[in-house]
Amino acid sequence: MKAILTKYLGEGRHTNDWLGFLRISVAVFALLHFLSIQADFDLLYSYDGLVQPDILDAMQGGTVPTMVDLQAFLVKAIPGITYNGVLQFFRFFYMIALSCLALGLFTRLSAFFSLLTQLMLMNSIHFFEYGADSFTTILLFYCLAFPVGRVMSLDNRLFKSAKQLHEGTAIVCLRLLQLHLCIVYFIGGFDKVVGENWRNGEAFWKAVTSHNMLQLIDLSILKNTPFFLIGGWLTVLVEMLYPIMIHIPKTRKLWLCLTIGMHLGIIVFLGLSFFATLMILFNLAAFYVPYTKRKALPRQQYRMVQTEPVLATG
């Protein structure tokens, strides 16, 4: 067991570019996702919107402050500050924090503020929240916890005293990201196989026909074929076997393609383009970028320090 763990957490033949990829892709994604609602921002957030902020506030969990909470708190220190003033400040602050994160400028600080502001903004409209927001939280947290600022960042260029990348920490972070994704898919597949509707094709039929938001392809013409039965089982198998197949080098690319294909299907048939895009980026950061061959860049580029293995081989 110790030997397996040592090998699994040992420094393998992967690049650390995934740290930079994770940071840039998550920050740019979150920025675009937030920009996509700007035209309807007032409808979602303001007192002139669909649901008044304090009514939304009444049903939120209380673990994360909302814009209403912040205004109530700040008005004690800054008399006269309005809800709209607080909202506009955090609206732009979030975009600035994400831009700094994407550039790798004051990376840990910008990751911290990006995560905190994302949580506050989403908790303020928690009834409008969905899976893409939860995964953004997860990945922004990893941007805060992982040494993502040590690779492809302005911090590395501007601050010569920037700390070196600890190779041992980087590999543990990569394994955490990978295992998290394995849990995501295994649980997703497990929950599906529990219900009979994924096993008899009904759920797949319903997913691709009833939620067909983009109306690009109509698959109902295939109702008399085993297409939906196969589709349901294929979805379950791709998800449940993900933790095994993605870790076998020979099947990794195939499973990555199948998984990305499944997410492209989610874009086409369910219209969840941001959610699916984020999942594709998550997959690429965890299982594609770390295994790409680096061209002519010496490992010292990252100013790494080699460390002891996590466990002695035994």
Partner: protein, 199 residues
């Protein structure tokens, strides 16, 4: 040494994610098949996850996110109809992303009213009533906003929260059709006036 500490923290984080998701899966399974939640292990996990510090940790790290998307069944689409003098008024969005978020609001409102299950206990009835009142408050907000945006005179509106039923594959193969796909979960007749949108 640093690597060992980081590995230990990572293992704890993963354990938390796994346990909270296994609990959610068990909870979903019990609700779907209507079986009692009597697993001692799950009771322990639930009690542990209810710890305040862990609740904060889960929220700020996203560790409590459930991954059972579209499971065990794919939910039916939903709709919220605002009927004003017989005409259905819907909000207009500039982006599909905002429209998608509005759909999530409707899903959340539907979850509030607990569809076909009747509350068994007094406390369940109270919670259900509170949630129904909350929905009413949200309906009033939305109706008022829609009337004001469309420059319509204040009047009575009929708010309908619906599931959009979908023809099962088996029936589709037999050539059946759905006469009325809407299944109304909650319906309220509200009077919207000029004074306030939360009367």
């Amino acid at each position: 040494m640093k690597k060992r500490i980081v590995a230990g923290l990572a293992a704890l984080h993963l354990l938390f994610i796994l346990l909270s998701n296994l609990y959610t899966s068990y909870d979903t399974y019990c609700a779907y098949y209507e079986v009692p939640k009597d697993s001692a292990f799950c009771k322990v996990v639930k009690a542990s996850l209810g710890n305040k510090a862990l609740c904060y940790y889960a929220r700020y790290t996203g560790a409590s996110t459930g991954f059972g998307y579209f499971a065990p069944n794919v939910k039916s689409p939903t709709s919220l109809n605002c009927l004003y003098r017989g005409e259905d008024i819907q909000p207009t969005f500039n982006s599909s992303e905002a429209a998608l978020r509005y759909d999530n609001l409707i899903n959340a409102l539907i979850e509030n009213v607990n569809g076909d299950k009747l509350p068994q206990h007094e406390w369940e009835k109270k919670i259900m009533l509170t949630k129904q009142h909350y929905n009413e408050l949200v309906f009033r907000n939305i109706a008022s906003k829609l009337l004001s945006d469309n420059q319509l005179a204040p009047d009575a509106v009929n708010m309908q929260l619906n599931f959009v039923r979908h023809l099962p594959l088996h029936d589709a193969r037999l050539g059946k059709t759905l006469d009325n796909p809407l299944f109304t979960v909650q319906q309220l007749k509200l009077t919207i006036n000029n004074e306030s949108n939360i009367n």
